[in-house]
């Protein structure tokens, strides 16, 4: 099993609903977020292009954050989901420094926090809350080992890219272009 997410940059309007839905679903304290929106504009008026991306932890197959964690708090569970065990985390921040995507943050309770792909929901057969809420339906989630999953189907159909592939982390967040 290999969970992944595809983000359709052509449909995303950057409304940040994914951010607030994640915050309420996962009780992320106000002032912090596990996912966020990036807008990139290229060109000179009026020859312009814009890409909008909803970003989060890439749940890398080769995750530097897991490798550098001194306590084993950062770990990988079934489906390749990268998680932090808050009881084992000492908040040293090594993982934060090692993440090329800046996907982790120090939770005010003293541990490091990040996107879990809503593991508590997917193990019950539901989608991550960001996927479920997105008004533009630009987020596709699923198991890449299952060719019929939403993520597999859309990645087969569309061109995509990953972010900072040169970091060699094998990210599992795909951006449809």
């Amino acid at each position: 099993m290999r969970y992944a997410m595809a983000v359709d940059t052509r449909k995303c309007v950057g409304c940040s609903d994914c951010v607030v839905a994640c915050q309420t679903e996962n009780n992320v304290p106000i002032g912090y977020c596990r996912d966020w929106v990036v807008e990139v504009t290229d060109g000179t008026y009026p020859q312009l292009e814009m890409e909008i991306r909803s970003e989060r932890c890439n749940h890398c197959a080769n995750a530097p954050c897991v490798r550098c964690c001194p306590t084993g708090a950062s770990h990988i569970v079934e489906g390749g989901i990268v998680l932090v065990d808050s009881t084992q985390c000492i908040g040293c921040g090594a993982c934060i420094a090692s993440c090329p995507y800046d996907a982790r943050f120090p939770h005010p309770k003293g541990y490091v926090d990040k996107c879990t792909f809503c593991e508590h929901r997917i193990k019950n057969g539901m989608s991550p809350s960001c996927v479920e809420v997105c008004p533009t339906k630009c987020l596709y989630f699923g198991d890449l080992d299952d060719p019929s999953s939403n993520a597999s189907v859309v990645l087969k159909k569309r061109k995509y890219k990953t972010l900072i592939p040169e970091a060699g982390t094998d990210p599992q967040l795909y951006f449809l272009i």
């Binding site: 309007v13 940040s16 679903e25 002032g31 539901m126 533009t136």
Partner: protein, 747 residues
């Protein structure tokens, strides 16, 4: 045409709509599979209650989930709801912050010093309402009940409207008319005999070509439309966006027309010219349903793409190509009517041009254009007839705005200033759910009007600027703490949605229904509110259709089958069109009768002088204007606005990204707070752009006080629409102040 206003009201509930309370409608579906799963899987001791959202007017129906401790956990969409299809927008998801905002109004307050100083004392509800009742009686006996005006917005409007009609006034204004959608409604009434409704009856779902004139779907988070536009992008639908700003929608469009601001009319006329003179129009449709084609054809003869190029800066071949795209998609083409259309003062005429374009393309009443709405109207209890006011809002300024079908908020404000010589004076304002200071342009005038009032009451959840000017502040509870009238908006299918309390009422706040009824009782008008509690009325209404409050609490939304299979006009169908001629009026005899151009004309608008830039404003997807600017969840997503400046302009001024600057308008008004510059290619060099609703001057709203700048403060010049009284707000120009001098800081 004396009865036109009444006629339109009747036509809204006439043919095409379902009659009330016949009890035979089949419920299409109750609980969806996903929702059932969600309940069984997540439930520990979890409770969820239905609501429909009050963060904006779209009113999506959803579920409020609570933790076992009873704290609100999250709000999600109801799968059965046509407004949201199970997906709330960021504002709806963050609606939770309206409840938990610690800056909320907490108890009734009565002013103890003169207006302008915010000195209040806490009062009981009884005391506050007694005070208001006695003032209302005093004004009624001294000036007549028509001297009381209601300014209202949102779900509470129904109850306060009822109350004020019972008191004997029809000066009941929603700023959403004259400050927003009014020109569109009148243009559509004049052309099609019907408005564009709310939610709009735009069939984006099935369109092959979507044309947006300054409409920034995706930044305006009008949920159903954003969803349908996203589906349209998926399907490869042609999108044409006309905007001086590279909006989010422009970024997703096949064609972006970076038009020179204030020249949209020229583009629309050139498109009409192209569509007529290339015989692109839907001939059968125009012949059967439209009138005035020959006059229109003659009128647009000279409005060629070359003519429009000189005005709009849009190249003729692009005008031609986009006209052809529309024609190729016809009738599944939608030239979107927009929503906030009060721009330049000729707005009714501009939207008339949009309506005409749609008519020529045959999109009104057709799949992929405008569908025909259906609505379920719940039964109304018997109440005494409302007194006919001896003087009406139309007598305030006789002869002005003859086409307006709703009271005009800014005209009521004008009538509160004696030197404007109104037909009768407005002496009392009751304001519900609208922050007039940030809503109505020309703040100086609003403040002057306030000084002439004998009573100003503000009902709100938050200490907005307007509450600071009130004599009595009534804190209403949020939508998460109350029942309200069922949502029964028109849509593809008739539907009802329930709102019920999800949480304990916080502080000493009350629902609008309770406030309106208590006040009615104190005024001896209790018979207009025969049910003591909202929920009793709801149960009575639902039992009339074989349902009950208990059932609605479980399902939240009920969709009904349409009475007839008439979502679109069938081929060659004879349909009733509610205009005078019974036809779609390309040429408006009604406008002509009232002294207005029967066909839209291009009028050049004032341009910015050297060193000044046109002030354009809009929405951000995570805020509903000033209503949400202190919401803790939503300020976390965006806590201030920025002013967008083209890099060429920024370079000339030496302005860098994130630099704090002040804006000064043509009338020397300087923004009260500095605003961060956003240097971006996404805006034309002759304009600047900012999101509306920031720059709050009310200290009690701690999160948003002084964050960003208020565009309303800078909109001192109002371009009044002579047809319906709309306040055009895009004729203001600003320049930059990089450092404030001492005197400027002091002022």
């Amino acid at each position: 045409m004396a009865n036109r206003r009444e006629f339109i009201k009747i036509s809204l509930y006439g043919a095409g709509f379902l009659a009330a309370g016949t009890g035979t409608y089949k419920v299409i579906k109750a609980l969806s599979k996903r929702e059932k799963e969600e309940i069984t899987k997540l439930a520990i001791d979890l409770k969820r209650t239905p609501t429909y959202c009050e963060v904006c007017f779209w009113k999506c129906a959803g579920w409020v989930y609570k933790t076992p401790e009873g704290k609100i956990w999250k709000i999600t969409g109801n799968d059965e709801d046509q407004h949201c299809n199970g997906r709330f927008c960021p504002r709806g998801t963050g609606g939770i912050g309206m409840y938990y905002d610690e800056d909320r109004l907490k108890t009734p307050l009565i002013r103890t010093e003169e207006r302008g100083k915010q000195v209040f004392r806490e009062a009981t509800w009884d005391e506050a309402l007694d005070h208001i009742a006695s003032k209302i009686k005093e004004i009624s006996s001294k000036y007549g009940p028509e001297s009381l005006a209601l300014f209202t917005h949102g779900s509470g409007s129904a109850y306060f409207t009822s109350l004020f009609k019972a008191i004997g006034t029809d000066s009941i204004a929603e700023p959403s008319y004259a400050q927003c959608r009014g020109p569109r409604d009148e243009a559509f009434f004049a052309t099609f005999g019907e408005e564009a409704y709310s939610p709009e009856i735009t069939d984006i779902r099935d369109t092959k070509c979507l044309v947006l004139i300054g409409s920034h779907i995706g930044e305006n988070m009008h949920n159903g439309q954003v969803q349908e536009m996203s589906d349209a992008i998926d399907k490869g639908t042609t999108i044409i966006t006309v905007d001086p700003r590279f909006s989010t929608a422009a970024g997703k469009s096949k064609y972006w027309l970076p038009i020179k601001p204030a020249t949209d009319m020229a583009l629309l006329l050139a498109w009409i010219h192209e569509i007529i003179y290339n015989e692109y129009f839907d001939k059968k449709y125009v012949e059967k349903y439209c009138t005035g084609f020959d006059q229109l054809k003659a009128h647009v003869k000279d409005f060629t793409p070359e003519w429009a190029y000189g005005i709009t800066t849009i190249k003729p071949d692009l005008i031609r190509k986009t006209a052809k795209e529309m024609a190729d998609a016809s009738p599944a083409v939608l030239v979107h009517p927009g929503r906030h259309v009060t721009w330049y003062g000729d707005d009714t005429q501009r939207v008339r041009a949009i309506a005409i374009l749609n008519a020529l393309l045959g999109s009104w009443g057709r799949r992929g254009g405008f569908y025909r709405p259906a609505r379920f109207t719940p039964a109304s209890p018997e109440i005494p007839a409302y007194k006919v006011p001896s003087k009406s809002w139309t007598d305030l300024f006789p002869g002005k705005f003859p086409v307006a079908t709703s009271p005009i908020s800014n005209a009521l404000i004008d009538a509160s200033i004696p030197e404007n010589n109104p037909g009768f004076p407005i002496k009392g304002w009751f304001i519900n759910g609208t922050n007039l200071i940030q809503t109505i342009p020309d703040q100086g005038k609003t403040l002057k009007a306030i000084q002439n009032l004998d009573l100003l009451v503000a009902v709100d959840t938050m200490p907005m600027e307007i509450t600071g000017w009130a004599d009595v502040i009534l804190p209403e509870c949020t939508y998460l703490e109350r029942y309200d009238a069922m949502r029964a908006s028109p849509h593809r299918k008739p539907a009802l949605a329930l709102r019920m309390p999800a949480a304990e009422t916080a502080y000493n706040t009350k629902p609008d229904y309770w406030i309106a009824r208590e006040l009615a009782v104190k005024l001896g008008l209790g018979s207009y509110f025969p049910f003591e509690k909202q929920e009793e009325l709801l149960d009575w209404q639902l039992k009339k259709i074989g349902s009950s409050l208990e059932e609605m609490q479980r399902v939240g939304v009920k969709n009904f089958d349409r009475e007839y299979d008439d979502l679109y006009i069938a081929d060659d169908e004879d349909v009733t069109i509610f205009t005078d001629s019974g036809k779609i009026e390309l040429y408006s005899a009604y406008f002509k009768q009232n002294g207005f151009d029967p066909l839209p004309k291009y009028i050049p608008h004032e341009e910015p002088s050297e060193g000044y830039y046109r002030l354009i404003y809009g929405r951000a997807p995570m805020h509903t204007f000033s209503r949400t600017s202190n919401n803790p969840n939503l300020t976390d997503l965006m806590d201030e606005n920025t002013v967008w400046i083209n890099p060429k302009v920024a370079k000339e001024w030496g302005i860098t990204n994130n630099q704090l600057i002040w804006l000064k308008n043509q009338d020397e008004v300087i923004s009260q707070f500095p605003i961060k510059a956003r240097v971006t290619e996404r805006i034309r060099w002759d304009s600047v752009y900012m999101v509306h609703g920031f720059g709050h001057a009310q200290k009690q709203m701690k999160r948003c006080f002084g964050k960003g700048a208020s565009d309303t403060q800078l909109i001192t010049k109002v371009l009044e629409d002579p047809i319906m009284g709309g306040t055009g707000m895009r004729g203001n120009f600003v320049t930059f102040i990089l450092e404030k001098t001492e005197t400027e800081v002091a002022s």
